[in-house]
Amino acid sequence: MKQLLILSGKGGTGKTTIAGAFIKLAEARAYADCDVDAPNLHLIMTHISKARQTDYYGMEKAVIDTELCDSCSICRQNCRFEAINESNGKYEVDSYACEGCGVCDAVCPIGAVFLQPAVAGELMLYKDNGVFSTARLKMGSGTSGKLVSEVKKQLKQEAADADLVIIDGSPGIGCPVIASLNGADMVLIVAEPSLSGISDMKRIIATAEKFRIKIGVCINKYDTNKELAQKIEAFCQERDLSIVGKIPFDTAAIKAINKGEVIVDIDCPAGWAATNVFYKTLKLMNS
C-alpha cells in the first residue's frame, strides 16, 4: 500500500480540490480526509450510502463531584491549565481548558475529582465508491493529532488491500500534520504564488523534510502571480525538489465545487493541468 499525502501549510490553496481530482483520476479505492478541524472532502465526493459513525474519545476530562467537594482549592492551585474555576465557593472544571493531565485527581485529598472519558469528535466511514475515512473534531476540542491517526487507522483496517491511498492532509505544521505525515510514501505540497504562500510552503517543506519523505511541489493558481511562481520554482530547484506541475487560476474550479463536482469532471484548463500533475506525481512516487 502506497500513501500519497497532499499538504499545503495553510488551507485555501486548493488542496482539497486537487485531492478530489486525484481520487477520481486514480479511481482510488481508499482515501481519507485528515483535516479533522474543517473537513471538506466529503462535500465533493459522492456517496450513495450513509456513513458509519463512531464516537471518538480524546483525552479524558476532569469532573468534580460537587456533593463531595469541600472546596479546599488544592486542585485549583495545582492545575497548570487554569481549568478549575471557583464561583461562590463552588469548584468546577472548564472542560475546554482541561487537558486531562490528572494532577487534580491525584492531589484531591478526598477523591472528589475524577477523570472521565469525553467524546471529542466523530469518525465517519463511507464504503461504496471505495473506502473513504474522515472525521470531525468537536468544536473547541484540543489536540487533533490523535484523531488524525484514528482516521488513518480506520482506513487501513477497512482497505488493507488497496495499493494506493490518497490522503487530504491537515493544515498547519503542528501535531495533526505530523500525524498525517507518519507512514506517508510521498507528499505533494500545493503552493500558492504569494509571499504568504511561499512562507507557508517553506515551513511545511521544512516539516516534511524531517520525515525524509519524497516531496513534490505543485503550484496552484500560478498565473495569478507569475513572478512569485518563478520564485517557487527557483527555490525548489535549489533544494532539489521536484515541481510536478502548475495549475492556472480558473473560475470553473469554483463552479465545480459549488455543484459538488471534481474539477476533472469539467472540461477546463484547471482540470487538464490537474490531470497532468496527477500523472507526474504518480511517476515521481513510483520512481
Binding site: 501549510g9 495553510k10 488551507g11 485555501g12 490553496t13 482539497t16 478541524d37 474543517a38 471538506n40 462535500l43 483525552m59 479524558e60 495545582n78 497548570r80 491549565f81 475546554y96 481548558a97 487537558e99 486531562g100 493531565c101 490528572g102 494532577v103 491525584a106 492531589v107 473534531l137 468544536m139 473547541g140 476540542s141 484540543g142 489536540t143 487533533s144 493529532g145 493544515p171 498547519g172 505544521i173 503542528g174 501535531c175 505530523i178 500558492e192 504564488p193 504569494s194 509571499l195 504568504s196 504562500g197 512562507s199 507557508d200 515551513r203 521544512a206 516539516t207 524531517k210 495569478t224 502571480n225 512569485l228 473560475t251 469554483i254 463552479k255 465545487i257 459549488n258 459538488g260
Partner: protein, 285 residues
C-alpha cells in the same frame, strides 16, 4: 475595542481583512495568532523588532536521586516519560508541562528547565504595532504561544485586531472569549459555507456580536451569502474578486496603503464594525 477576525479555514482572506483593518485604524495593534503559519508580518514588514522567546517547562530527573521507581512514568497521561536503561527519558514534544511528575516523584528527583517552542516578535509599521507569534518547526503545539499572545493583548487599550488561528479548536475559542466583536470571513463556495457554519456556531456559543465579510465575490451565485441571508446574519461587506487586490495581496502589499479605493472600502468596514460593536454593547446593558 478588540476585534477578532476568524474563518473556519485558512486562506479565506482572514489575514487580508485583519491586516487592512489594522492599517486603516488610526492607532492600532495587529496580533497574528496563526502561529503555525504566521503571515501578517510579511505585509507589515515591522521595524524596531523585539523578540521574546516563548518557553514551556520541561521536566528532567537528577540521576543521582532517581531510584527508577517509575511513579512518574505511570502518572504521565501523555506517555511523555520512559525509564530505559537506568535512565529517565523525557519525550519533549509530547510533554504538556502539567507538572505532575515533579509533584509526585517520591525522591524529589525531578526539576524543570525552560524549553523554547517559539517566539513572539513585535515591531512597528507606521500606525500599527505588529505582534506575531511564531512556532518553531517540528513542534506539535503552538497553544502556549497563543495563550501568551492573548494574555499580552489584554493589557492593550488601543484598537486590537486579532488574526485568529484557523479552525474551531480550543485556541480559537480562547481568542473569541476576549473579543468585543467577531468578523467571520467567508469564501463564495460550498466549502466556504461549511467552514463558516463552524465559526458561526462558535461565536454563538459565546454570544458574541458578529458579522460576516464575504470575500472574493464573483458575479455568480454565492452560497455563503445565501447562508447569511437564511440565518439573518449581518453582512458587513462584500469584497469583490479583484485581480488588482489579489496581486497586491500576493506581493505582500497592504492594499489600503497603496490605493485610495481600498482605503475607502476598509474604512467603511471599520466604521460599520465600530458601529455594530457599540450598538451591541449598548443593548447589552
Amino acid at each position: 475595542m478588540k476585534i477578532a477576525v476568524l474563518s473556519g479555514k485558512g486562506g479565506t482572506g482572514k489575514t487580508l481583512v485583519s491586516v487592512n483593518l489594522a492599517a486603516v485604524a488610526l492607532d492600532s495593534v495587529y496580533i497574528d495568532c496563526d502561529v503555525e503559519e504566521p503571515n501578517g508580518h510579511l505585509f507589515f514588514q515591522p521595524k524596531d523588532l523585539q523578540k521574546e522567546r516563548v518557553t514551556v517547562k520541561l521536566p528532567q530527573a537528577d540521576p543521582e536521586l532517581c531510584t527508577g521507581c517509575r511513579t512518574c512514568v505511570n502518572f504521565c497521561k501523555f506517555n511523555a516519560l520512559a525509564y530505559i536503561k537506568n535512565k529517565l527519558i523525557v519525550f519533549n514534544e509530547v510533554c504538556h508541562s502539567c507538572g505532575g511528575c515533579l509533584l509526585f516523584c517520591p525522591q524529589k528527583a525531578i526539576s524543570e528547565k525552560e524549553r523554547e517552542i517559539g517566539l513572539i516578535q513585535s515591531g512597528i509599521s507606521g500606525n500599527v504595532r505588529v505582534v506575531s507569534g511564531m512556532m518553531n518547526i517540528g513542534e506539535v503545539s503552538g497553544v502556549p504561544i497563543i495563550k501568551k499572545l492573548l494574555q499580552d493583548s489584554r493589557k492593550e487599550n488601543k484598537n486590537v485586531f486579532l488574526d485568529c488561528p484557523p479552525g474551531s479548536a480550543c485556541m480559537v475559542m480562547e481568542s473569541i472569549k476576549d473579543a468585543d466583536y467577531c468578523i467571520l470571513v467567508a469564501e463564495p463556495t460550498v466549502f466556504g459555507v461549511h467552514n463558516l457554519e463552524m465559526v458561526y456556531e462558535l461565536v454563538r456559543i459565546f454570544q458574541k456580536p458578529f458579522g460576516v465579510v464575504l470575500n472574493k465575490c464573483l458575479e455568480e451565485e454565492n452560497p455563503a451569502e445565501d447562508f447569511c441571508l437564511q440565518n439573518q446574519i449581518t453582512i458587513l461587506e462584500k469584497i469583490p474578486f479583484d485581480l488588482e487586490l489579489g496581486t497586491m495581496h500576493s506581493n505582500g502589499q497592504i492594499a489600503v496603503r497603496k490605493h485610495p479605493k481600498y482605503k475607502e472600502l476598509f474604512l467603511n468596514l471599520l466604521k460599520t464594525v465600530s458601529k455594530e460593536a457599540r450598538h451591541e454593547t449598548a443593548s447589552d446593558t
